[in-house]
Symmetry: C2
Subunit: 262 residues, 2 copies
């Protein structure tokens, strides 16, 4: 793990580190043996300014077409750090953000778009694509946890996961596979992609669903919630389209993580 141009202990004037509202932001690149063919994983770590010692860590998965510093990721990360004192990490999914275009993914996405325009049902295509990408992101994200938890100002504390839409499609198999994750906020995803992995999740889950989601059929969302094996899981459904999660759900997520990670 390499902070882009300086170590985390350098002054905030370094290009890799900046801070606002008491939240320090550090860009990094992670080289892992997993990624020899793919180059490196670019990431960003947010911590409370001047933090020392072990703290809960939230890994956030961004949406499709977005990246590690998409506005929705940054706003939530700041809240989790400033209000709860957590560390938050996000990395670019292959083919997104600062990562090179992936030929295979690009070809499949283009083909899928054409199939949808030709009248094919979108949901199973998205599901299949997300399952393909997850085979790469699950080991990548586990390597990110390994690296970030070795930092002095993060440490091996409890881990949470936050991800909706693509972040849910990739997050469900990640949470199912990674025992360090103790609680997860997931949503805007359907059972087609992830029911099998969901049935292996037993940690508390807050599951967000948009009642008028134009991308994920209502029955698919309900079926994914249903498939989670977690004894404690809560479905929060709100009116509106895919991207219209109401602001108060961030309050709820903040309390959810506080309840389960502290």
């Amino acid at each position: 793990m390499r902070f882009t141009s300086a170590s985390p202990s350098t002054s905030s004037a370094s290009p890799s580190e900046s801070s606002s509202d008491g939240v320090s932001e550090q860009l990094f690149t992670l080289d892992t043996a997993l990624n020899t063919a793919l180059g490196e994983i670019p990431g960003v770590l947010w911590t409370p300014e001047g933090a020392t010692g072990t703290r809960p860590l939230i890994l956030m998965g961004h949406g499709g077409g977005q990246h590690k510093k998409a506005p929705g990721i940054v706003a939530r990360a700041h809240r989790f750090v400033a209000e709860c004192g957590f560390a938050v990490v996000a990395v670019d999914v292959p083919g997104h953000g600062d990562r090179p275009q992936d030929e295979e993914y690009h070809r499949i996405a283009t083909e899928n778009q054409a199939r949808v325009e030709a009248g094919e049902d979108r949901a199973p295509l998205i599901a299949e694509f997300q399952a393909l990408v997850a085979r790469r992101t699950v080991p990548e994200w586990r390597a990110v946890l390994d690296a970030v938890q070795r930092l002095d100002d993060v440490g091996a504390g409890p881990v949470g996961y936050w991800g909706v839409s693509l972040g849910c499609g990739l997050g469900v198999p990640f949470v199912a596979a990674e025992p360090r994750v103790r609680a997860a906020v997931l949503g805007l995803g359907g059972a087609l992609a992830s029911a099998e992995a969901a049935a292996r999740i037993t940690v508390p889950v807050e599951f967000l669903m948009q009642w008028d989601d134009e991308r994920v059929p209502r029955a698919q969302s309900l079926a994914l919630f249903d498939a989670l094996a977690s004894p404690e899981k809560t479905l929060h459904a709100n009116p509106g389209k895919h991207a219209e999660i109401p602001r108060f759900e961030l309050d709820s997520a903040t309390r959810f993580f506080t309840r389960h990670l502290t």
Copy 2:
């Protein structure tokens, strides 16, 4: 409105008033012209101890077979008063608590029980019964608001409604009919009973559903949430049976009412 044996201004040693944890509890009886045939409506009012002036008021509707001081009502009322400074009022539904048995309701309930035992579907029977009772409770509860809002330590502030199960079946038509209600927590109810009235509700609603409810079919709960015309409505679904709403939902209801009534 008559406090059972003393006015609200008398000392807390009076039989009608007691207090604990800063919450004052006053029993009362409401005589209304609506109830000449039925006797009086017994109720209970909780306020912050030593309260003066106008404050938000929450009317709570109890569950079937319960009463105005059922443990779930008392615990929630204390929380709303102690944490938010609200006033809370609850009254016995006809045929419940300190009210005389109602011959017609008793006959119907007995018949329904026999029909369920004979294999008939329970949900439509409950729905029909709740619609019948609501024709009486809607005007009664409106009269309760009139009376309680005339008290100096309550006043004509914003009103909330909390009620699940029977309290939802009776609450949906009440909230639909009563413009003073600005926000409602409802749940454990189905569309058969109340879809038509739900379509007239436009205030924010937090709707509680138990995912494994043995009394309300899942599709019926979802259909009632769907029927609400409120632009802001949130479905909270949790695993467990009808009576197993998790404790953290009271935290959420407290914040919901705080957001909308203050």
